[in-house]
Every structure is written in structure tokens, then in C-alpha cells.
Amino acid sequence: MIQYLTNNADTIWLALQEHIVLALLPVLFGFVIAVPLGYLAVRYRWLYQPLINTFGVLYSIPSLALFVFLPVVLGTKVLSPVNIVVALTVYTVALLARTVADGLRSVDPVVVQAATAMGYRPLRRLTGVELPIALPVVLAGLRVATVSNISLVSVGALIGIGGLGQLFTRGFQLFYVEPILVGIILSVLLAGLADLAIVLVQRAVTPWTRAA
């Protein structure tokens, strides 16, 4: 194991970097897309159920299928990392739009009315009052999305780009346990670190939740 690590440090490091980019970029994109979508689903009530159902179906498409199928839709090359990023963004949006909507819905209407009465315009009220109150719920969803993205990236190795997943396929082809183990351990560690980071951010930006 140690020998494998020292001999292949460069490959592993590259795979890890690729893994981080492929997993976290979609979280960023997904978050930016999901917040307005979630807001719309709350603002226009009739949108909520169809939106949730659509995302439910999107979420049930296997990642492998999405990875290989997106090139056909987007016209990208099969080996382009764009496919992985877009596919994971779809999953992130599917997951987060719902949590954003549920989080915004959980805001006490009395608070919203108070903010309106104080002269908050809709946009300022959203960013200054509603979103911060919904933040614990939204960040809980973000944790799930981030962790599952990190574990899903490796499936991309089946089509040739998958960060640490390439260690899995290599180990599998050579019938060699070390790369697979290293890949799993690094992937789990990465997920744990990302999860911890979000928890710390949440503690820092929502001090009022600790008072309760």
C-alpha cells in the first residue's frame, strides 16, 4: 500500500484534483440554479408539485446513463469532462431546488409580513430575511448533494473521466486491490472534509440556531 502510494503519487494527486473539480463545480452551478427555481416554486404555488415530480424523475436516471447520454444531447465529445459536470449539476439542482422550496416554505409567514411592513422589497426580503432563515434546511440539502456528488464522480471512470474512479477501474482491470482501496479512502475522506466544511460554514453564518 505504502509502496503503491509512493510509486504513484503523481497519478493519485492528479486524480484527486480532477475529482475535486468534477464534484464541486456542479455543487456551485447547482446551487446558483436551484435557488431561483426553489423561489419560483414557492412564489407560484402551482409550480411546486410539477417541479418536484420532474426532479424526482431526473434523480432516478442512473448517473452512468446520464454520463453516456449527455454527449448526444449536448453535442460534446464522449470524453469531455463537461458531461460529468452537467450531469452532476442536474442531480444537484434536482435535490437542492426541493430543499430550497421546502426551506422557504418553512419560514414563518408572520416574519415575512413583518419584513414587508418594515418596507423590505421582495428581492431584499428574499436575500435579507427569507433565505437566511431557510439556510439551515438549504445547507442540509447542500451537504447531501456535495457528499453524493463526490461519490458519484467515480462512476465517470467507466467512460474514461472520473477522478479517483480511474483508480477503481485500473485496480479492477489489473486485479490489484491497492489502487481501489486508495481511491475509496480518498473519496470518503474528501466527502467527510467537504461535509465538515459546510457544517462549519453553517455554524458561522447562522449563529442564531445555536441559541435555541
Binding site: 452512468l64 446513463a65 447520454f69 467515480s154 479517483l164 475509496i184
Partner: protein, 219 residues
């Protein structure tokens, strides 16, 4: 978009090796087995932790820990260690379903109104009766939610079994990709997504059937 593979009747011939019906059956086979084994492991543990409150830390964090384990890596590790067969697939998929079932069993038991349990005890129910007649039925909606999301995940993830040479609907994806036959890949993606929706609808109807009518107003 090219639907020729999906719509070709030859690929739907029943019992034909590699035909879509046979792939669906093996896919469902992996799914059902993994869910059953996972439930047998996770339910008692989750209910026990929820009932006693001991080990809550484990139940809460099991969910995230389980999600962070890459199923593909686990599957390939198991195949490398144990050789090809049903066992490595079942281990990898079971590891996937245990956390959501465990967490939801725990959450379901925790969500109960303590007064109802006290009332049941006050009526003279024995601990076992309290568990089976009061706590379990009332925890069922939450528990079933976890079970359904576990089922959804397995149906989608069981496709990776094909990457180590086994069956299931992943065959359409892997083989289609290998020979650049996108209509086959598309067929695989559609069939898996439809299967996932059907499995969820099926479980939803079971849920409606077994959840006590007294609970439906609140759940």
C-alpha cells in the same frame, strides 16, 4: 434521439438471453435482494436505537457516511477480493441501502409523541406490544419514506453491476457504449428511469395500504 433499439420487438422477446425483459428481471433481482438484506440488517438496529435513544450518533451519521462510499469502488474492490458473482454486487448494493433505512427507522421512532407511548403503557400493554402495535405502526410513514428513497437509489445504482461483467439493465449502457450504439444506451436509460418510477409507485401504494388510516390525517 434514436429509439430504434427500445422499440424493436426483437429486444423485448421474453426469456431471450440479453433481451430487455430478462435484463429487467435480473435488475429487479439485485434490487429486491439488496433491499431485503439491507432491511434485515438496518431495521432492527434503527428501531433499537430510536427506541432506546442509545447510539443516536451512529444513526444520524450513518446516512452521510453511507452516501460518501463510492458504490463503484466498493463493487470493484469486492470483485477483486471475492471474485466474480452475485455476492460482491449484493454487498455493494446492501451497503448503499443500509444507511437510509437505518436513519429513517431511527427518525421514525424519534418522531413519536411520547405521550402516546405512555398512554399505551398505561393501558397495560407489554413492551413488545407497545413496540409492535403502537410505535412501529406510527413510525411507519417516516420509515417507509427512507425505504422508498433506498429503493430508488438501488434501482439507479444497480446499473454499475454491468461494469464488472454482470447482468441487469446496466448491460444496455455498457455494451451500447462499447459498440457506440447510442440507441441502446438511450433504451437502457429510459427503461431504468421508468422502472425506478414504477417501483416507487408500487411502494407508494403499499404504503397507502399498510399505514393505519388513523395516521393519514397527520402524515
Amino acid at each position: 434521439m434514436n429509439f430504434t433499439y427500445l422499440l424493436d420487438p426483437a429486444h423485448w422477446e421474453f426469456g431471450a438471453a440479453g433481451g430487455i425483459p430478462q435484463l429487467i428481471l435480473s435488475h429487479l433481482g439485485y434490487t429486491v435482494l439488496a433491499l431485503l438484506i439491507g432491511a434485515v440488517i438496518a431495521l432492527p438496529v434503527g428501531l433499537y436505537i430510536g427506541h432506546t435513544g442509545r447510539g443516536s450518533f451512529l444513526a444520524i451519521n450513518a446516512g452521510n457516511a453511507g452516501r460518501s462510499l463510492p458504490t463503484l469502488g466498493l463493487l470493484m474492490l469486492m470483485v477483486t477480493l471475492l471474485g466474480l458473482g452475485l455476492l460482491p454486487v449484493l454487498i455493494a448494493l446492501t451497503v448503499l441501502v443500509v444507511p437510509p433505512i437505518l436513519t429513517s427507522a431511527y427518525a421514525g421512532m424519534r418522531s413519536l409523541d411520547q405521550r402516546v407511548i405512555d398512554a399505551a403503557r398505561g393501558m397495560g400493554m407489554r413492551p413488545w406490544q407497545v413496540l409492535t402495535r403502537v410505535e412501529l405502526p406510527m413510525a411507519l410513514p417516516v420509515l417507509f419514506g427512507g425505504f422508498r428513497s433506498a429503493a430508488l437509489q438501488v434501482v439507479a445504482t444497480a446499473t454499475v453491476a454491468a461494469s464488472v461483467g454482470l447482468g441487469g439493465l446496466g448491460r444496455l449502457l455498457i455494451d451500447g457504449l462499447a459498440v457506440n450504439d447510442y440507441s441502446r444506451v438511450l433504451a437502457g436509460a429510459i427503461v431504468v428511469a421508468v422502472l425506478a418510477v414504477l417501483v416507487d409507485l408500487f411502494l407508494a401504494s403499499i404504503q397507502r395500504w399498510i399505514v393505519s388510516p388513523g395516521l393519514k390525517g397527520t402524515s
